[in-house]
Every structure is written in structure tokens, then in C-alpha cells.
């Protein structure tokens, strides 16, 4: 399950980067584009959902150190 949500996290991040930097140059500069709106909100939701699951999995696994 971790692999699935890791893929979703990085997929949403890649899509977010495209939406922020490439969309206005490669697709459309329409600031009220419904497609952009739907994609951006969808990407944000996917990002938060996958981040939430991965953090929960990591908490339950108890990994990470506190070394400075």
C-alpha cells in the first residue's frame, strides 16, 4: 500500500509542477479555465490524501530519528 500512495504522492507533485510552470506555456493561458480548475483541485486533494496516508503509515512504523 505504501508503494501505491508513494506513487500517488509523487504523481500529484509532478502534476502540480506541470500545472504551476508548464500549463500557461504549453496548454492555455485562460485564467478561468474549468479544466485547469478541476485538475488543480484534484491534484491538491490527491497530494493531501497521499501525504496523510504515508505519514500515518510512517508513524505506525515508527521510523525516523531525531539526530540533529
Amino acid at each position: 500500500m505504501a508503494k501505491l500512495f508513494t506513487a500517488l504522492l509523487y504523481g500529484s507533485v509532478a502534476e502540480a509542477v506541470l500545472l504551476a510552470f508548464a500549463w500557461p506555456f504549453a496548454v492555455s493561458r485562460d485564467q478561468d479555465s474549468a479544466a485547469y480548475h478541476a485538475l488543480a483541485v484534484g491534484v491538491l486533494l490527491a497530494f493531501f490524501a497521499s501525504l496523510f496516508v504515508l505519514c500515518a503509515l510512517r508513524l505506525s512504523a515508527g521510523r525516523g530519528d531525531k539526530a540533529v
Binding site: 504522492l9 507533485v13 502540480a16 509542477v17 500545472l19 504551476a20 510552470f21 508548464a22 500549463w23 500557461p24 506555456f25 493561458r29 485564467q31 478561468d32 485547469y36 480548475h37 488543480a40 483541485v41 491534484v43 491538491l44 497530494f47 493531501f48 497521499s50 501525504l51 504515508l54 505519514c55 510512517r58 508513524l59 515508527g62 521510523r63 525516523g64 530519528d65 531525531k66 539526530a67 540533529v68
Partner: protein
Amino acid sequence: MLSWFFADASRLDAANERRIVAWSGLAPDIDVLAYVGAILWYGLDKDLAFENVWQVVHHRYTHNLSFVLLTGIVAWLLASRYAAARASRVALLSMVTSALHNFCDIVGGGPTWPVYPLWPLSEFGWTAGWSWPLSEWPNTVILFCCLAATMVYAKFSGRSPLELFGGRADSWFAGVIQQGSDGSRVAVRPSEATVRRRLPLRLIIWVLVVLVTVAVLAPLGFRPGN
């Protein structure tokens, strides 16, 4: 905070690496320095500083791909001091959080603050007409979720986004969350030499904390209720 959670979810096991990635997510807002300088330049007249500097500078020079690349280089240099083998991964994740900052500003920064994706190659500013302003409820929900997650993380893992401000701040916070206000006393105090060695870094961190606070309050005219 989101950058720190992203760093942790990306299985960065060392606190220093999580810290680099998390600060990289905040880095684009370093342009607040220009606003602070402008307020001083205009004799504390924040309206003049806002109109002549903040409105022009904010998002233009630090919210673009060039700055994302610069963030990656700085992150790589910092990370290679701790673990050269993982420096590339830390740098890549740092670039990702810096880029995510831009995306989040487009979605939840309001339609009046465009980012400049290809500056200095292009002066084109990009924003979304439907973008919700900072004070809207989605941002408030995200903030409170992050605060709740910070406490849950501190409770169950003994670490939290407070790592950004140093290991001791994080240990203190985790101690308070886990054992009440007396819990922080359990933490082992570092030696005098260690404290002296860390002083410059600590000063830099606290200056950054002040700058981030100003970055949040400045656009609101230092009146959070507005």
C-alpha cells in the same frame, strides 16, 4: 509545515535532511526581506513600501523555476555536508517543495498575486481567477489540519515540524505533548561548547522565524483581523 510532512513521508530519516527540505518549501517567501528593507527605507511607511516594493517584488524573483533550481543547488551543498550519498535526493526533494510552494500560491494565494514561472526569461505572470485568498476557509482548514498533525506526530513519534527551529525546540515540544510541561526537563542538556558552537545557527534560525512572521503579517498590514 507541509514541506516537513512531505520530507517525512518521503522517508528522510535524518532530522537535518528533513530540515533542509522543509526550509526549501519556505524559501520562496524570502523576498519578504525586500519588504522589510523597504519599510525601513521609507521611514516605516508601510503603505509606500507596499506600493513601491512589495507589490512589485513579491512573487516575481523568488516564485519561478530559476529560484527552484537555486534552492536545489543550496540544498545539495548543505546536504552534502552531512551525507554526500543522499545529497542529490535531498536536493531533488527540496526543489519539489519549492515548486509546490508556487503551486500552492497559485491555488490558495488569491488571484491578485501571480507567480512568474519562467522569470527572467519571461515576464509572464500566471495566476488562476478562481484562486482563493489567504484568509479563505480552505487555507484555515489546511492550517488546523497541519497543527493537529504536528501534535499527533509529536505525541507518537517524538518529532514534529518544530525540527525546523532546532532539535532542542522539537524535543521540548515533544516532551510537553507527551508528558505535560514537566516532560521537557527530561531532555539531556548539551554542553557549553556545543551551545556556543550552535549560537550563530540559532540566531539565523530565529531571524528567519521573525521574517516568516513578518511575511505572514505584512500583507495584512500587521492587522491579522483584516
